[in-house]
Subunit: 191 residues, 2 copies
């Protein structure tokens, strides 16, 4: 998506070999006009799959998931909470999610009331790096007996292997901007 | 707002003397059609104040803030992160936020890049109870030299004193549904 690539180039900061921060429009301050364009594009790519629920994980996935749902005929959005293993009980589905940056493991959890076998789910995540969060969310859907129709990421860092891992697990993945590598402060995109 | 009151009565759960959970449409699963009605109503109440930024706090305020921004001519949304005091540095504004339910204190923090003296800010919070989160957010705006135009809460539990506290501090507060008390499993609203 050209609009998004240009925005990442223009407003991405702290660009290292593996890092680009997009706090000014995606992760801390949210550009809602851009979010509407992203939501529309996600619908263009995933709109014919009979999706009836959008699943994301707190915190920064929530805004884009909420706006995208407008284009998906107002399907409900569920966000998984990041919790300590100690807070799990039988009312929740839970899946471990490793954070490579922090070196920690948390549990993505969703109340059993809000995922079911009838759900045809689109997973939306703002950043796809190692694919840990998306794999955890897919795991939750499957525990409920539902269907993962696809995984939409806004920004993918392809060189960290997340999309390959998710595709190897059998999931359909499509990212709006795919970064192939970052070198000498310059960001390279697929296509 | 009658639509919201009816929804709280119909779908609120775990109703105790101080508690009502609205996880099925506001805090965990998000009813985006309802969010659009809430966003429109917030605009009706706060739309003439020259607001140029919406501020909320992670996680469950983000969805409603993002949708509300559509009605406010796509003003940017900033969400404060809940952090440990140890993660603060000079790049952030920080304000302590006490959680009465958890008995803990965290820090609401916003990067100094995303709040400034030119900001005319609407604070949106999903739940207004003791008013700690909203007071912390207002504190952040003032540290930046900006103006708090108003505080919009979706569900207010008036009997916990948050709105009175915020008004005593000089802030304009308007909540879409005001619960005056909860007794014998029944919820009473203002008006």
């Amino acid at each position: 998506m050209e609009l998004l690539k240009r925005r990442i180039i223009n407003d991405g900061t702290e660009i290292g070999t593996e890092i680009v921060k997009v706090d000014s429009f995606l992760n801390h301050q949210l550009d809602i006009g851009l979010f509407m364009a992203l939501g529309k594009e996600i619908y263009r790519r995933f709109g014919n799959m009979g999706i009836n629920k959008i699943l994301t994980i707190e915190a920064s996935g929530i805004g884009i998931a909420a706006i995208a749902a407008i284009y998906f005929d107002l399907v409900p959005v569920v966000f998984a909470k990041k919790a300590q293993p100690s807070t799990m009980n039988e009312d929740f589905y839970g899946a471990p999610v490793k954070s490579f940056t922090k070196g920690t493991v948390s549990i993505a959890k969703v109340s059993k009331q809000y995922l079911s076998k009838d759900d045809k789910v689109l997973i939306i995540d703002d950043f796809l790096a190692h694919g840990e969060a998306a794999a955890g969310l897919a795991n939750l859907v499957e525990q409920a007996g539902g269907t993962v129709c696809g995984i939409a990421a806004i920004v993918e860092k392809e060189f960290q292997g997340g999309s390959k891992k998710l595709r190897d697990l059998g999931y359909y993945v499509d990212s709006l901007a795919v970064i192939t590598n970052i070198e000498d402060g310059k960001i390279y995109f697929k296509d």
